[in-house]
């Protein structure tokens, strides 16, 4: 038996050497001359962002190798670049829309705590997102005979059948492994953690049960830290603060065939760019606009990425008010709203998938002005104030006044959404949110229901009800609100108020639901909200 194992080991080692060698040779042959990687002597890295020095170049670390390329089209996605230019097809395209997760990769960023990773959908993420970051792919985190624990567990638990979605699952699991600290110490994962990590990965073959088993199992395997892989050929530290940030119009990070992409680091730079390119495409998370490129095959001439502007990604709580930068991602907001707005944080768990929540931003969700965005109804119910900045100076707009019509807002060319301000809730106040969709995770709302109430001494002093999916924009239900305000906080009040819903909303039928259902369920959600708010008090609320 021992002989056999030893023999197996030798065979595995040999096969590793062979695989490594042959892929390396293949890659060197395949690589176009403008791409440099660390096999070739790389020039000292010049900061391309925010400086007028050097050429426009994307520089990223792929599975431990630094790569520079100055010929990447700004519209090129990470997935396309890896599969075509790099000829590395381990990440798969299942939908090219961020819905299936077959292309899931880990994107690492150097922080004070070392490299921290998150998953993203490579199919709709621009190559600029990988700039100065660390990408990990399935063939990078493991090798034949030396699999990452997520991979080994998937094999042991029969977690793959056709195998096409598998690389994406592996990356979601490996990221969970890293985030949950399993690389440092074995510990158990909860089903909830696992489902959250896998919410953006579709499998049509297995029925998920063995994959969930694999997630539990990977925690029991010998530890592995993928940071060692990313750091294999050195870690580069990029510190924007330490650099001389030019307030004037920065140089493009990418410029190919007259198409360019800018990645400003400050709002000053952003404003300068907006003066020069008022019609530029503003790219925050890109989880919706990315589909313009991958589904409608559009090419943007000028893209301004917002996600490296640190001031837009901040959150502050002060004087009973929460200030949320427009660039805060859903994943960040899940943490930041957990204490102050637990129902909101719960809702965020159901927006898109983990990958999408890692990319998409609150500001993007609001400014996108889709009638079916999940957060605008909540912000309407909370009476949020929006901070707008840009070429015409800074101004505050009540979210009630923000939406003008289908996909239309008060934002002018040259303006951007800077932040969202909401008041924290007092003990008499509540926020109840319901998302109705065909599927629980990673679906778009048929109805998004948001109800703010201020109940004092058994009387509803203030009510704001806003819904998505019931009109051309996210919309308040003013008549229903009036039917609630001043009334006793009772089941009857809510039943009566529900009769006004039909006056407030005239929804449409579409692929997600019929207009009749949308109205009926909105009425019923009013009662359901009451039952939930009184759960534990009124006996049978369940």
């Amino acid at each position: 038996m021992f002989c056999y194992m030893l023999d197996q080991l030798v065979r595995k080692l040999q096969s590793i050497l062979r695989t490594e060698l042959s892929t390396e040779i293949q890659r060197c042959r395949a690589m176009p001359p403008h791409i440099r990687h660390n096999g070739v002597k790389a020039a000292p890295f010049n900061r391309a962002v925010g400086q007028k020095t050097g050429v426009s170049v994307i520089r990223f670390n792929l599975n431990g190798r630094w790569i520079e390329d100055n010929k990447i089209d700004p519209n090129c996605t990470i997935l396309k670049y890896l599969r075509t230019t790099m000829m590395q097809p381990d990440a798969k395209e299942g939908c090219a829309a961020g819905d299936c997760g077959a292309c899931t990769l880990m994107l690492g960023e150097m922080t004070e705590r070392g490299i921290e990773y998150r998953t993203l959908n490579a199919c709709i993420a621009l190559m600029a997102n990988a700039h100065e970051r660390y990408l990990l792919t399935p063939s990078g985190i493991g090798r034949a005979g030396q699999l990452h624990p997520a991979q080994q567990a998937m094999v042991d638990c029969h977690g793959s059948q056709c195998g096409f979605c598998t690389p994406g699952f592996v990356m979601s699991l490996a990221n969970l492994y890293q985030q949950a600290g399993l690389h440092a110490q074995q510990s158990a994962l909860t089903d909830e953690q696992i489902h959250a990590a896998l919410s953006g990965n579709l499998c049509r073959c297995t029925g998920y049960r063995p994959i969930i088993e694999a997630a539990h199992k990977m925690a029991e395997l010998p530890v592995c830290d993928v940071r060692d892989i990313s750091a294999r050929s050195g870690v580069q530290t990029f510190n924007p603060q330490a650099e001389n940030v030019s307030p004037t119009s920065p140089q493009a990070l990418q410029e190919v065939d007259g198409r360019r992409l800018f990645m400003p680091l400050t709002e000053e730079q952003l404003k300068a760019l907006l003066r020069e390119y008022p019609e530029a495409c503003l790219w925050a998370g890109g989880t919706d606009i990315g589909l313009e490129i991958t589904q409608r095959f559009k090419q943007f001439d000028t893209i301004i990425c917002l996600n490296r502007i640190t001031t837009l990604a901040q959150t502050q709580e002060q004087g009973g008010q929460l200030w949320l930068g427009a660039g805060v991602t859903y994943s960040q907001a899940e943490h930041q709203l957990a204490d102050l707005f637990p129902s909101f944080a719960q809702l965020l768990h159901r927006i898109g998938s983990r990958q999408i929540r890692n990319m998409g931003t609150l500001g993007g969700n609001i400014a996108n002005a889709s009638p079916i965005g999940d957060t605008p109804p909540a912000f309407l119910a909370l009476n949020a104030t929006l901070e707008i900045d840009g070429n015409h100076g800074r101004r505050d707009v009540a979210i009630d006044d923000f939406y003008l019509g289908y996909k239309q807002t008060v934002l002018q060319p040259g303006e951007y959404l800077r932040a969202i301000r909401i008041k924290t809730l007092q003990s008499s106040e509540s926020l109840t949110l319901h998302k109705i969709s065909k599927r629980y995770d990673d679906d778009i709302s048929a109805v998004m229901f948001a109800l703010y109430l201020d109940v004092q001494n058994g009387i509803i002093e203030q009510a704001r009800l806003a819904c998505g999916g019931v009109a051309a924009t996210p919309l308040r239900a003013l008549k229903t609100e009036q039917a609630l305000i001043g009334q006793p906080f009772s089941e009857n009040t809510f039943l009566q108020a529900a009769n006004s819903i039909g006056q407030d909303y005239q929804p449409l039928s579409d692929v997600r639901a019929s207009k009749e259902y949308r109205l009926q369920v909105t009425r019923n959600l009013l009662l359901k909200s009451y039952l939930e708010l009184t759960a534990g008090q009124a006996g049978d609320a369940a």
Binding site: G94, G163, Y208, A542
Partner: protein, 786 residues
């Protein structure tokens, strides 16, 4: 001795233990390690040859009408475009209908569905091709479009004539029954949503031929159609499939069109051409599971026993026959599921509509028939006020009976299986607990259902029930295996390799399964109808047996022993009768010896399923070699304010005979159940009134995610050898467990029925989205309102 691969474990080490990975062991999928590394190569992952071009099709923007003009000037002039073809540019056959004609490769003067391919483009890049096709100027004379089954029935629009099956006198039996009842159910179709979309990669070959890599479940059919389209003999075309990223029936016939288009370009231009459908094109351009509109008239007695059934099924076939004749037949074959209808008349209509041509999908019509049986049984239970499981039990077939198509009932041990599951999952106690829960909760209701499966195994087209295999043994003892089946994730290559390992009693790592290729095993059947391992396993076994008999014969002569004294054991061949003096020769040394003594170490194997026959004219015979059984008990909780629900628990007991690989079989059962559940819950196909598919992306069509699976989910195998002589007495597993999803639908309906105290059977068409569940709840609320 020459160099031995380091991958080969020394033979001495293999002698001391039984061979590994033989049939019956829980071996991992042969590509599992490559799957997790992302290095398993799908067609789009293959290195592209220099000069590769990318194809895309231009689609119609109406559902039905004449094409008055097709101006492709702007398309031809678009950046990157190299060539454009229309129907006139097809050198040979223009119709690629698989069984019946009616599927022109591009619309032939008349558009038959919204999105139908009108022409195709090749360009230097995929994106350029996709942009170019949008530039076509097309003028149409629009005609009224048939978009629903009911419209087609009214206008007698059918792609094939209706067919009927009869047993006894259904009309009389219904009329004379103590209780008569009627009902109907609309069952929607399903998008396959294989994760790897349709793809073909064509390389020009000798003499105007083509080497085609195609993600297809039926390479031989693709080969034949490509040859016909190119006007070359079949032997000029080779089709190869190493693996698919899922198939589920969607790549049985509908992979061919893209392979044909790529091949036409490749032949015209003498350049490699890749044709890949992106997700939206895939969803718009390829057929799905058929919707069915089903109606019944039943006659029952006071106990709920069915005395007669008059049943009409109508399938939503789309614009052309494709495989719809056989699919509607299979729905008819399974409308009894496990129940004796006593007197039955079953009619099946094949409705023609101006929609994409619907096609094979796991179960092949069976699920749409079987769910109707379960709907009927639930309706009966409400009518007579009994627990639905009890009504099911009294209606079960018994050995000695026969079906409405004349197949005798034998080896019908399903009642035993159901009884075991009923006991194991604590059905009765949970029924009581649920009644209590429902009394105590105003807005949340729970439902429970235990439903059986009896699914017929064999292609109902008899000639398809054959398979071939090719086995070579090399002088190092490694074995090359090829067979006609394709690998789409179901583990077929693993299972058949296990058969070979089993036959020679050698370790599985000595058996290399290779890409399905039309030049290795010809004239193959599609990998479909759950038949993959039944047919190809037997064919491979046959090849092994031929080789073994040659080897034994050689050993007899060479070692002067009797045939019984030559045994294949522990990776060795053991020669001699006496245990102590027997000579152990490693498999490698033995085959080398045979080779040196001029014994052929290569052969084909062949298998044809015995016993089956069916006369479609009389609708009578034995279309199925045997039946696979199973049962599922599902428990759900619904919210009666929103219609939202959660599947709390599912327990499955399933019959795979003697399992070839329990790990793979359980994987098939679990995956099929979730896919079946998705079909009946969250997955909703929707066309608008112009015939445009609205559910055309992953954003608008929702297959289950990990959180949708039951919190408590068990699958057990019912271990009993198949009485028929199948490969090691196993049973087919691909399709049957799909129908366990029906238990979820029945449980949802049970929960809704609780709102009316189980007095009525609520209408609940599928998929049972929250919207439909809420509507059914409101129906019950209105019915009980005083």
């Amino acid at each position: 001795m020459s160099h031995v691969s380091s991958k080969v474990t020394p033979w001495e080490a293999r002698r001391q233990r039984p061979a590994k990975g033989k049939s019956g062991s829980k071996l991992a999928h042969e590509s599992a390690e490559k799957h997790v590394l992302g290095t398993a190569t799908y067609i789009d992952d293959m290195p592209e040859s220099a000069g590769t071009l990318f194809a895309a099709v231009g689609k119609s923007t109406i559902a039905h009408g004449k094409i008055l003009s097709l101006d492709l000037t702007a398309v031809r002039n678009a950046p990157g475009v190299v060539d454009v073809i229309t129907l006139d540019d097809i050198p040979g056959e223009k119709d690629i209908g698989p069984v019946f004609k009616g599927d022109p490769i591009f619309a032939d003067g008349v558009v038959e569905f919204h999105g139908q391919a009108l022409f195709a483009v090749v360009a230097e890049s995929f994106e350029q091709a996709k942009r170019a096709v949008l530039l076509a100027q097309v003028r149409y004379e629009e005609q009224p479009a048939l978009l629903t089954i009911k419209e087609a029935l009214q206008q007698n629009a059918f792609v094939r004539p209706a067919h009927s099956m009869q047993k006894g006198n259904a009309r009389m039996a219904v009329q004379n029954a103590p209780i008569q009842m009627s009902g109907e159910l609309y069952v929607k179709g399903q998008e396959h949503f294989y994760l790897e979309g349709q793809i073909s990669y064509a390389l020009p070959a000798e003499d105007g031929g083509i080497k085609l890599y195609c993600s297809s479940q039926h390479p031989s059919e693709v080969q034949k159609l490509v040859a016909e389209v190119l006007d070359v003999p079949i032997n000029h075309v080779q089709v190869e499939v190493r693996r698919m990223g899922g198939g589920f029936g969607g790549k049985e016939t509908q992979a061919a069109q893209w392979g044909c288009i790529a091949s036409v370009f490749a032949q015209r231009l003498n350049r490699p051409v890749k044709m890949r459908l992106d997700r939206q094109d895939d969803m718009v351009l390829t057929g799905k599971r058929h919707d069915f509109y089903n109606r019944y008239h039943l006659g029952i007695d006071e106990n709920g026993k069915i005395l007669g059934a008059d049943i009409e099924l109508a399938g939503f076939c789309g614009y052309s026959p494709d495989l719809s004749d056989a699919i509607v037949d299979r729905a008819m074959f399974h409308v009894d599921n496990a129940y004796d209808l006593n007197n039955a008349r079953v009619i099946g209509h094949r409705c023609k509509t101006n929609t994409v041509s619907n096609t094979a999908y796991r179960g092949f019509g069976g699920p749409q028939g079987m769910i109707f049986a379960e709907a009927m049984l639930d309706d009966i239970a409400r009518k007579v006020g009994k627990d639905p499981l009890d009504v099911r039990k009294i209606n079960f077939y018994r050995d000695g009976g026969s079906t409405h198509y004349g197949q005798p009932i034998e080896d019908f041990y399903l009642p035993e299986l159901v009884a075991q599951l009923e006991h194991d999952c604590d059905y009765r106690a949970r029924r009581t607990a649920i009644a209590e829960f429902n009394r105590d909760h105003r807005w949340k209701k729970r439902g429970l259902a235990l439903t059986p499966i009896r699914f017929g195994i064999s292609f109902t087209i008899q000639f398809l029930n054959q398979a071939g295999a090719l086995v070579h043994i090399y002088t190092d003892g490694s074995v090359h295996l090829n067979h006609g089946g394709t690998e789409m994730g179901q583990g077929l290559f693993t299972k058949v390799a296990q058969v070979v390992a089993h036959e020679f009693d050698i370790d599985i790592d000595m058996v290399q399964a290779s890409a399905t290729a039309t030049d290795k095993v010809p004239n193959t059947s599609p990998t479909a109808a759950s038949s993959g391992s039944d047919l190809n396993g037997k064919a491979a076994q046959n090849a092994c047996q031929i080789l073994k008999s040659r080897l034994v014969q050689f050993a007899q002569q060479h070692f002067q022993v009797n045939a019984v004294d030559v045994r294949f054991m522990n990776n060795h061949v053991v020669i001699g009768a006496n245990e102590d003096s027997a000579q152990w020769i490693s498999f490698a040394d033995f085959v080398t010896l045979a080779y040196q003594n001029r014994v052929s170490l290569s052969t084909t194997g062949y298998y044809a399923t015995p016993k089956i026959h069916y006369n479609r004219d009389t609708a009578n015979g034995r279309p199925f070699f045997y039946y696979a059984f199973g049962a599922c008990c599902a428990e759900v909780e619904i919210d009666t304010l929103t219609g939202e629900y959660k599947v709390l628990r599912a327990d499955i007991l399933h019959d795979v005979g003697r399992s070839l690989n329990p790990a793979i079989d359980i994987g098939q059962i679990e995956g099929a159940f979730i896919q079946g559940m998705g079909w009946l819950t969250t997955e909703e196909l929707l066309w608008d009134d112009k015939g445009r598919l609205q559910s055309n992306s992953a954003a608008t069509y929702k297959i289950p995610t990990s959180v949708d699976i039951p919190e408590h989910f068990t699958v057990q195998l019912f271990d009993r050898a198949n009485a028929e002589d199948t490969i090691y007495n196993s049973k087919a597993v691909g399709e049957p467990p799909f129908m366990h999803g029906i238990a979820v639908w029945c449980a949802l309906r049970d929960a809704v029925a609780s709102v009316a105290d189980y007095k009525i059977s609520p209408p609940l068409d599928t998929p049972a989205t929250p919207e439909r569940v809420l509507n059914a709840v409101m129906f019950c609320q209105q019915e009980i309102r005083p």
